[in-house]
Each structure stands twice: as structure tokens, then as C-alpha cells.
């Protein structure tokens, strides 16, 4: 089986954000993480392309992403003071969307920094 090799990959596990990692991956999992530290290695190997979890859950029951998105929109828009929280393990592009969403629902947006 041929492996996909990604050079100059970036590890987002800790604040060092090392961008010189070489990843070797098959279709399902990353099998080698050159130059990554032990924390980075377990981070990369801990996530696979398997469908291990349901796409979405509503009240604990499997649901479609479409339904979950609609339910989320209802909850957030109907709240007086919704909170958008976390933001550390997502991309800047997702963070930018999150701020726009917080504005649209009139909420608070916060990250780990405030802890």
C-alpha cells in the first residue's frame, strides 16, 4: 500500500506549533511522524479517518448534520446571552466564523485565555 507523504506539516498540539513535521499516512491513519516530539506523535496518531463516531447527536441520539445545524441555530438565536467558548483547537478560519456567529446571535465569545 502506498503512503501519502506530507512534508512541512504543522503540529497544533502545543504552542510551539512546529511546522517541519513529515507525516506518512495511509488512508485511515498517520503511521509515521518524523521530527515530531512524543506529544506531537501521539496527537497525530490519536486521530484517524475512521467513522468512529456518529455524524451528530441530538439529545444523545444519532442525527444528521443538517438537523443538528438547525437545532444549534434555534438554540443559539433564541438565547438571550449565548456563549461561544473554546476556540483553541480550531483553525483561525473557524475562529473567524465563530466571531461572526457570536455577533449574529448577540452573544459572548471567549477562549481559554480567560481561564
Amino acid at each position: 500500500m502506498t503512503l501519502t507523504i506530507v512534508k512541512n506539516a504543522t503540529c497544533t498540539f502545543c504552542g510551539c506549533v512546529c511546522d517541519d513535521i513529515e507525516l506518512h499516512a495511509d488512508e485511515i491513519r498517520i503511521v509515521e511522524t518524523k521530527r515530531a516530539c512524543s506529544l506531537g506523535e501521539s496527537w497525530f496518531k490519536n486521530h484517524t479517518a475512521e467513522h468512529l463516531y456518529p455524524d451528530a447527536l441530538i439529545d444523545g441520539h444519532p442525527a444528521t448534520v443538517d438537523d443538528a445545524v438547525e437545532a444549534a441555530a434555534d438554540y443559539l438565536l433564541n438565547a438571550n446571552m449565548p456563549l461561544v467558548y473554546g476556540m483553541s483547537n480550531i483553525t483561525c478560519e473557524a475562529q473567524r466564523e465563530a466571531v461572526a456567529l457570536a455577533e449574529l446571535i448577540g452573544g459572548v465569545v471567549d477562549s481559554h485565555t480567560s481561564l
Partner: protein, 551 residues
């Protein structure tokens, strides 16, 4: 939402207004201006008509030097929450994003504030390659206005090391490669050599003395070589220069020396006000605007912007790290410093210009003096080096002072008595006409930038237009445009943002030998901390990209 620009083929006619289009020698003639599909056209059949009777029609404003996006400005935002709290608030509406004004506005507010004043193109004047990705992200969320960036280059150690070895041809390839890597429009030189020296806590104050850590490289050599490289690469905008010794008493000598070095090449002298001082210390501080203007008037290879100061709160943000350390020591206020590996640095100090302070009074006068003493308005442009001298949204206050000698003289009377012998402002009677205001706010900077589709209303030009109610009070007139049109669409009407669309970003691709990467990669790997392959900005990160052809 600021995300989606509304695209449309909107026909529009402005009729009855007095048109000021200096690039076409049109000086207040009443004539129609038509546009279709974002461009000026000779005529339109149908579409909306704006009756501009009693109003004046200007090409949209062009800011040649401002700091509105990037790591340094974003650092300043973090440092000054007290400014944000006191600043104007921008409400979330159906068309606009929430935001905050003040000296370091949020990106969305920046777009609304510029457009709200009739400005449609802005140049972010200080971008490091290392964080250029970030600058482009901020510019993506700076709506309405078109944008361009100048790349910080005069303290780039790879370039300086090549100049030390006399390898100027290779330096040229490196500069060209870096311009394309960062996806920018022009080259900026800030305190050449001084920021690199600051990495060891030193500065570079003498134009012809070697920079700390070098034997042959002097600020003068960096300036001359970079100006030459920019001209040889054929960039539309000449080297954009922030001289050594910014803000220091007696720096007129440095500035004159620098301008002599530039003979034979083009250059744009940024915020000249900060470089036109006499005196030996803060007690003997005085204006040398006359001396600078005399030299400048005779040397047509140069353009400049004023970098005028207004009394009130500012935040000084500059790649000139050593000056900022001095300012911190002088004021005892907050100081932020951010050194960027191998490339540049930046310092941030909040500052208040006080009318009662002798030095500040002289600075205020020098900015206006330069604008009045430089005789060719096509070579001096309105800026405040935002947010260093004052906030950009205060430009109308300066316009008023330029157009009204009596108002200026009244204000001079309120300065400290000691200041009056240090300045010449009280003796200047020149008053700017509307035609000249259109030059220094639009036609002139557009021409200096080489943005051929901006700053005029010829057929084919971008349909960026500001329409003002004529008013003897220049400040009021220029603060509240009646309409602002961007790319043929009405974006501001009576002070309200009516329509938000995303602007373009202008970039250039100068020619270089692709083999330069073979030289750069090992040097990069030794001196930097990221992967060489991750260093260039990917093309798709520049939103609304427009590549300007190099002649």
C-alpha cells in the same frame, strides 16, 4: 454581513455637480459623470441618476501611508483596551459588522471609517514577510476599500548580508522573490539598518557610518541600493522611505543627507513631518520645514506625505524600535516592542499630543508648513501616519486648516508663546483650493503609487467617487460626504453605510531568477524557525486579488 460583496452591473449618472478631476485638468466644471459595471464610462442610458447640484464631485480618496492591518497594529489593539472602551462603537446591523473606532480601529470599522470619509483606497505601509499572511487576513476583513501593502525591507538581514558582500544583483533577486512571497505591492524602508542594530539595543543615526554588526553596510548604502533595486525591478511605486533619526531634534541633517543619497532614483519620503526638525535637544527643538521644502522643491525625483500631527490621543506604532524605546523612556507610558526575526521589528507607545507642549506644538506646525511650503501638490500628500500623528478619520480637520489661513492663524495664537519663534506657520498665507485638495487626497497619491485606474475620472477608471455638499467649513464638508461610490455602487449615503462590498488587494510580481531559491533555502533554514516552504503566502489567501502589471 461583510462576507459577501454584492456584485452588480449598476449604471449610475451623477449630474449637476462641480467636478474636480485634477488628472484631467478639470477644475470645478459642472458636468456629468457616468459609470457602469464598476468603471467610469462616457455615457449611460438608464439606471439611477444622482442630482448633485450644489455639491462637489471628487475621485475617491487614496491614502498612501497608513497602518490599519497587521501584527504590529493588532499588538497595539491588545495593549490599549482603554482606548477601545472610549472609542466610537459600531453596531451590528443587517449590512455592517460590529466594531470599534479610536486610534486602532477593528478591521470592519476601518473600512467603514475610511469609506465614510470618502476614501476608497488605502496602503498599509509596513508588512513583514514573516507575518504577511496575517496582514492579508486582516485586510480580507477590511471592507469596501481597495488595499495594497508595502513590504519592510531595509533591515532584512539576508539582503543586508548580500550588500555587505557586494552581491547587489543577487540582492535584487532576493528582494523580488520576497515581494512575491509576501504578495505585496511595494517596498518600504524603515530606519534603514537601525532596526537591525536595535536587535542588539543599538540604533543607526549616521547615514554614512556602518550599521552595528556590519563593516560596509551603512544606512545610506541600504537606501541607495534599495531605491535602485525598486527602480530596476520597475515597481509601480518607488521605494517608500522612513528615514533614520525619526522624531529627533536636529534630524533635518539626516533627512537632507538621505535625500542627497537618493539623487538619480525615485523615492517616496514617508511622514516627512517627523523628519524636519532643528535644534540640539528638546529645549531648542524647532521647525526646519523651510529647509526641507527648499531642497524638496528642487528635486523632482521625490514625493512625500505629510505625516501631520493633530493634538489629542494617538498610538505610535512603527518598525522603528529604538525610537520607541526612547519615547517610552521620555513618557513613562506603556511600551510594546516586537522584534521580527531577520526582518524588522516594531515598537508601540500610546501618546498624547498636547497643544500646551512646546515640542508637540512645533510638530503640529511642521506638518502644515510642509504641506504649504512644498509648492507642487502632486508631490506632497495628506497623511497623519495613522495612528502615529493622529487618527486617519481626522483628516478633514487638516483639510480645513489648509484651506483657511485665518483659522490656522487663530490656532497658532493659542500655541505656547515659546513655540512662535520656532515655526514659520504664522507667516504662511497660502490657502488650498478644492482642486488642490483633490490632488493631495486622491490624484497625487494615486499617481505616486502607480495605480493608474485610481485618483481620476477618465473613461475606464475605477468608479470610486466621493460627493460632498459644498460648505465653507472644510472640516464639516469633508467629514460627511453626501454620497460615496465604490466600484460604481453607492456605499455611503448621508453618513450611513448603505452597502458593503469587499475591496480588492493590489499586488505585483517582479521578475527574478527562480534559482534564487537554491541560495535562499539554506540561509533561511539557518536563520529562521519555520519551514522555507511555509514562508510564502499562498495566492488564494489574498482576497480580491488584482495583479498590477509591471511596465
Amino acid at each position: 454581513m461583510g462576507f459577501v460583496g454584492l456584485l452588480g452591473c449598476v449604471m449610475l449618472r451623477i449630474t449637476g455637480g462641480k467636478v474636480y478631476d485634477p488628472a484631467n485638468n478639470i477644475n470645478g466644471t459642472i458636468q456629468d459623470v457616468c459609470m457602469d459595471n464598476g468603471r467610469i464610462v462616457a455615457d449611460v442610458q438608464g439606471g439611477r441618476t444622482i442630482n448633485a447640484t450644489g455639491m462637489v464631485v471628487f475621485p475617491g480618496g487614496v491614502d498612501i501611508h497608513t497602518h490599519v492591518a497587521g501584527a504590529a497594529l493588532n499588538f497595539a489593539r491588545a495593549m490599549t483596551p482603554e482606548n477601545q472602551r472610549a472609542a466610537a462603537k459600531f453596531m451590528h446591523t443587517k449590512t455592517t459588522r460590529a466594531g470599534i473606532g479610536g486610534p486602532t480601529p477593528t478591521t470592519f470599522a476601518t473600512g467603514y471609517l475610511y469609506a465614510g470619509m470618502g476614501y476608497t483606497t488605502v496602503v498599509e505601509a509596513a508588512v513583514p514577510v514573516l507575518s504577511a499572511k496575517h496582514t492579508h487576513e486582516e485586510l480580507r476583513d477590511t471592507p469596501i476599500v481597495d488595499k495594497a501593502c508595502c513590504l519592510l525591507m531595509a533591515n532584512n538581514e539576508i539582503v543586508m548580508d548580500l550588500l555587505e558582500k557586494g552581491e547587489t544583483e543577487r540582492a535584487k533577486d532576493v528582494v523580488a522573490w520576497l515581494i512575491w512571497a509576501a504578495k505585496v505591492y511595494g517596498v518600504k524602508a524603515v530606519n534603514p539598518g537601525g532596526v537591525t542594530a536595535w536587535k542588539w539595543g543599538k540604533d543607526a543615526k549616521q547615514v554614512h557610518e556602518p550599521v552595528h554588526g556590519y563593516n560596509k553596510v551603512t544606512p545610506g548604502k541600504i537606501i541607495a541600493e534599495l531605491a535602485k533595486i525598486v527602480d530596476e525591478l520597475g515597481l509601480p511605486h518607488p521605494m517608500h522611505l522612513h528615514c533614520n533619526n525619526l522624531g529627533a531634534p536636529g534630524n533635518v541633517a539626516t533627512t537632507l543627507e538621505t535625500m542627497k543619497v537618493l539623487e538619480g532614483n525615485r523615492a517616496h519620503m514617508a511622514h516627512l513631518q517627523f523628519h524636519a526638525y532643528g535644534g540640539d535637544d528638546w529645549h531648542t527643538f524647532r521647525s526646519e520645514a523651510t529647509q526641507i521644502a527648499d531642497y524638496f522643491n528642487k528635486h523632482k525625483n521625490l514625493t512625500c506625505d505629510a505625516g501631520a500631527v493633530l493634538f489629542g490621543n494617538a498610538v505610535t506604532i512603527t518598525a522603528d524600535g529604538p525610537w520607541q524605546h526612547l519615547l517610552y523612556q521620555l513618557t513613562g507610558r506603556k511600551w510594546g516592542n516586537l522584534d521580527v526575526e531577520n526582518e524588522t521589528g516594531c515598537g508601540i507607545v500610546p501618546y498624547t499630543y498636547k497643544g500646551s507642549n512646546l515640542v508637540n506644538a512645533v510638530q503640529w506646525a511642521v506638518g502644515l508648513e510642509l504641506l504649504l511650503l512644498i509648492d507642487d501638490p502632486w508631490r506632497v500628500f495628506l497623511t497623519t501616519d495613522h495612528p502615529n500623528g493622529a487618527c486617519f478619520w481626522r483628516y478633514p480637520e487638516i483639510i480645513h486648516l489648509l484651506m483657511n489661513a485665518d483659522a490656522r492663524k487663530e490656532r497658532v495664537k493659542k500655541l505656547p508663546a515659546k513655540a512662535l519663534s520656532r515655526i514659520v506657520l504664522a507667516d504662511l498665507d497660502r490657502q488650498y483650493s478644492l482642486y488642490e485638495i483633490a490632488i493631495i487626497t486622491s490624484a497625487g497619491p494615486a499617481r505616486a503609487l502607480g495605480l493608474t485606474q485610481k485618483g481620476h475620472l477618465s473613461v475606464g477608471a475605477d468608479a470610486d467617487i466621493a460627493i460632498y455638499n459644498q460648505n465653507p467649513d472644510g472640516e464639516h464638508m469633508f467629514r460627511y460626504p453626501r454620497y460615496v461610490i465604490k466600484a460604481g455602487e453607492i456605499v455611503v449615503e448621508e453618513g450611513d453605510i448603505k452597502n458593503v462590498r469587499d475591496g480588492h488587494e493590489f499586488i505585483v510580481k517582479p521578475q527574478y531568477d527562480p534559482k534564487i531559491e537554491d541560495f535562499l533555502k539554506p540561509v533561511f533554514q539557518q536563520q529562521y524557525t519555520m519551514s522555507f516552504e511555509n514562508y510564502p503566502v499562498e495566492l488564494e489567501r489574498v482576497h480580491g486579488l488584482q495583479q498590477v502589471k509591471i511596465s
